[in-house]
Symmetry: C2
Subunit: 139 residues, 2 copies
Amino acid sequence: MRKEEAIAEGLSLVEHSQIAMLGTNGGDGYPNIKAMIKAEHEGLKKIWLSTNTSSKRVAQLRQDPKACVYFVDFDHWKGLMLVGRVEILQDRESRDRLWHNGDERYYPLGPSDPDYSVLRFTAERGNYYHSLSNVDFEL
Amino acid sequence: MRKEEAIAEGLSLVEHSQIAMLGTNGGDGYPNIKAMIKAEHEGLKKIWLSTNTSSKRVAQLRQDPKACVYFVDFDHWKGLMLVGRVEILQDRESRDRLWHNGDERYYPLGPSDPDYSVLRFTAERGNYYHSLSNVDFEL
């Protein structure tokens, strides 16, 4: 598989995924994983997520922004891992961008709830596999 | 949720999962994730997986055995993260233990194929969540 194909197939996987696995450094030398709702993406370069400011994940990312985001279609042996860094955003524009009706369940104060944080992941490189094809690429 | 309940619900999640997400340290400071077939488990303490000896994952685990194994039922907001260490095994008993008919597709030389490795993960602690309940426990 050529890199262009891997990137195109990886993008299709992201478009069809509602869930992303976020990998972080746990601070004690162990990697951590959490499944999150994929809120938005800009190609493969930026992945937007949201979570509680008070969460372990945010504390870990403040210590070390290095992370990976993984998408998988296990039934078809497809997977995409993006490696990069996460910014924790609380500006109004970013919060409004990801806010949906009903999110008050989690953040009672609305988009300005201090416990509502936006995570913007920026990929530096990626790996896509499909069956036995496996391709690394820069982004 | 009490710890005993969290461990019991976590075990049920493992029993119903065919897939496990393996988190490793990439060697460059970035965490990595790969979806793998969960081959066997002994309670929550040991998770058995298998993979290619020549794979990136095995090279990473040789450098740093610290890992996590994550199981998720996203539809029901359940997730279990186990944190611990991975041993890479190539003894005959471990290989025979996980071998299934048809695995020759991946390892043409059979259970003694040098590219066939067994990963035995031993959990040190865990975290289970279900909706808004979230419990840490030692193992």
